[in-house]
């Protein structure tokens, strides 16, 4: 596994976003910001290495498309990426439950 992809849950969130439709880098940052209500502001310097690493692991596939005169590189989730996403979601649910238990159910 690529070291870049081990870092935290960024890759999982990107996969989640790509699960509904193919997006290009700029769009991904905007979507993440919107969906997390401004909590996650991903930097470009972090985004592209992760995207490229995911492409290398065959979690996503890239293709070029020209829209409104702009050449954009779109990323699309693969079957392998979908499997990884399901796995990561399960892991996350487990983790969240454990944290919830420690903090006390409904304590917050």
């Amino acid at each position: 596994m690529n070291r870049e992809l081990m870092k935290g849950s960024t890759a999982t969130m990107l996969l989640m976003l790509l699960n509904s439709r193919a997006l290009y880098g700029y769009e991904l940052i905007k979507e993440l910001e919107r969906k997390s209500e401004g909590t996650f502001a991903l930097k470009e310097g972090t985004l592209y290495p992760i995207l490229h690493a995911m492409e290398g692991e065959d979690w996503v596939q890239a293709y070029w498309e020209t829209v409104e005169g702009r050449k954009r590189k779109y990323y699309q989730i693969t079957d392998k990426g979908k499997r990884i996403l399901e796995e990561k979601k399960r892991e996350w649910a487990l983790f969240r439950n454990a944290v919830d238990s420690v903090l006390g159910n409904g304590g917050i």
Binding site: E4, G25, Y26, E44, G45, T46, Y48, K71
Partner: protein, 401 residues
Amino acid sequence: MSRSDAFEEFLDEVCAQVGARELHGELRMELANHLEELAGEREAMGFEKEEAAKWALEQMGDPETVGRNLHRVHKPRMNWKLLAVVLLFAAIGFSGMLSLAAAAKGHSGTEEFYGRLASNHILYLVMGIVLMLGLAFFDYRKLRRYSWVLYFVTLIGMTAALFSDTSVNGAKGWIKLGGFIFNIMGWSPYILIIALTGIWTMNQNSSSRAFRLKKRFELPMILLPCLFYAVGHALTELIIFSAVVLTLYSWLNGGWRRSIVMILGASAVVLFYAWREPAFRIGIIAAIDPGRVPKHASYMIINLRETLATAGWRGHGFGALRDQLPYVYSDMLFPYLIYTFGYLAGLGLAVVIVWFIAQAVLAWKTVRDLYGKTLFAGMERKTTKVTFRRHLFFYPQTVRY
């Protein structure tokens, strides 16, 4: 500084950090688009062009950091596992050569020849490692440009070999060039595979005339070398070339399902053709039932069976002699190793071979470039074939006897 100049400078600084040069083009395009989107967003908010560009660059952060992070992802990675197995193979071969040298000690006639094998082995190993390092630093994609030249030069070489009267051990297909003798026919399948792979995966405008012309001649370009092999009675080369090329071609054009159908079809045709060659037919029968063929044809198989039957679990030990087995130092090395080191060692080696093939398949899956992927697949099938031919299959050896 104009906006595009500022962007170019940023991209230059990013790319300066990324070692994989062949990626620079795409990387620039992707990041340039990102900058444009950012600046466009700002402009839509009513900012001046220049201010928007400045803001966009600020968003991207330090170009050196961006570049360094990207470099980490795209660093060329050495496949250590594959390298380790290759070295292990070399070591096993070397131990076989040492054992042969020990066995031949004191036997006049064979002592000198067998004694030289070990040092030759080291020499070839060093040459192989040098070649490997050379290839590792060479961007194989540059080779693609010369695919057409490679294809036609090989065909010319094959023509020359067919009409040349140079022969080695009675076999044709060799040409003499400046003091060296080249086995053109033997090498041609691999060179042609490399050339055709390059021609098929060339980036071309699909509406151009050259592209349409290329498409029309795709099949004739496969059939032409086959014709050469048929005329030159080069059965082994015909099998290697047609099987690999047809598989790759159908895989490129229709996925793996079609390539499986193609492999099965090609195997049937080749088997039918081969069955009509008496030497080949007798070789296969001999491998199944040695009693049914003339003595001279079954000699190798019977000999081989005896060698394996008397090996035992622990073998005859280092320096064992097996005079009856010809070519112990090449074709018959695997049986000799079993004879010397026993079934357990043979089983171990078989496991390593299977593991090697599995590793190679895994490595293939990580190659993303289509030319590289196709080349790799072609060479992998070749290596797999040679391994099987050399060590696990009996019939090619028997063909000659």
